[in-house]
Symmetry: C2
Subunit: 202 residues, 2 copies
């Protein structure tokens, strides 16, 4: 498509670099910004510049944070004996939303994926080992809450091997049929796992 202005073209190309946004959507957004009040565009760009310039990560759990140590790691009301290991900050938000977990987190920043050139050293696994080793008497359980994919399983396997000498319990989140889902639509591996991992009816 030919654009009536170089400015439009540049803006469209930049927006279309974002994941899940194509050129058509980008053009729609650009034309919206032009029609809208200019303050709104500046408020948007301002928020993004501040975000990218000032975002910090917790020095303990590596979650996104406004301070050097995040509010979860600082909180006195969290159970310091359990650490839940997740892929990224999105997972922390999702688990926090369940209100089912009161322990601490450890954000790896991804999973082991040789296809994408991500090995253990690209992730915060050493930091996890150091963290457990430094608080060996305090930490009782590590929950591995990684994606139920090949990469997630590989990462869980690797982490388990790295921390097997510590006296901590290592658990993984349950895999089974999703709540509210229909049995006939569950794939056979999930269904198989849900049978193998059955729990006592209470």
């Amino acid at each position: 498509m030919e654009y009536p202005s170089k400015l439009i073209e540049d803006a469209v190309n930049q927006i279309a670099k974002l994941p899940g946004i194509g050129k058509k959507t980008a053009l729609r957004l650009v034309l919206h910004l032009i029609k809208d009040k200019s303050e709104n565009t500046y408020a948007l760009t301002d928020a993004l510049v501040k975000l990218r310039g000032n975002i910090k990560f917790c020095s303990s759990c590596h979650n996104i944070s406004d301070h050097d140590v995040c509010s979860i790691c600082l909180s006195q009301r969290r159970d310091r004996s359990v650490i839940c290991v997740v892929e990224d900050s999105k997972d922390v938000m999702a688990i926090e939303n369940t209100a089912q977990f009161v322990g601490l987190y450890h954000v790896l920043g991804g999973v082991i994926s040789p296809m994408n050139g991500i090995g253990p050293s690209e992730l915060k696994i050493d930091s996890l080992v150091t963290r457990i080793s430094a608080a060996q008497n305090e930490v009782k359980e590590i929950i591995l809450a990684l994606s139920p994919t090949m990469e997630g399983d590989t990462t869980a396997f690797y982490i388990n091997r790295r921390i097997k000498d510590f006296t901590v319990k290592v658990s993984v989140i349950a895999r089974g049929v999703p709540v509210g889902g229909d049995l006939e639509y569950a794939d056979e591996i999930t269904l198989g796992r849900s049978i193998a991992g059955r729990t006592l009816f209470q």
Copy 2:
């Protein structure tokens, strides 16, 4: 949802103001920007700031332009006897893509819509009348290429009344079954119009 950082929250809220983007998508984009190289975020915000600060509109046809008069209005290869009236710049791009039209454009900036508080004075209709009046011997035809909606029809009706004293032909783009579409899926109004507006088989 609770965000781990005020910066994240602000950025998500700003992005979610864009049309068609909800908070979940906004969060996905924000987390992408944080993971991505910071240059990419700055390239994006830079393009948007430049866009909003420097965008110009053609003083003749009101299309988006890098200069005071757009390249279409300036071009010597365009047929100056036909003016195609459209709602916005997106339509100009769409019609240019068809390569079926070599005349000039006039961008109204919307259609008459009392529901949204848009009357004729909010649109570039006076400017269209002035333009035709100033070049009465040159302009032979006005093509109304507005959306086939109530608002589009109202606008077409209004423009037609405003310019009926000039000796220009006023036409509207054909309405009928879309090319490649299946007859049985066309709604009855469209199908009715396509029969009423039938043309000779050639």
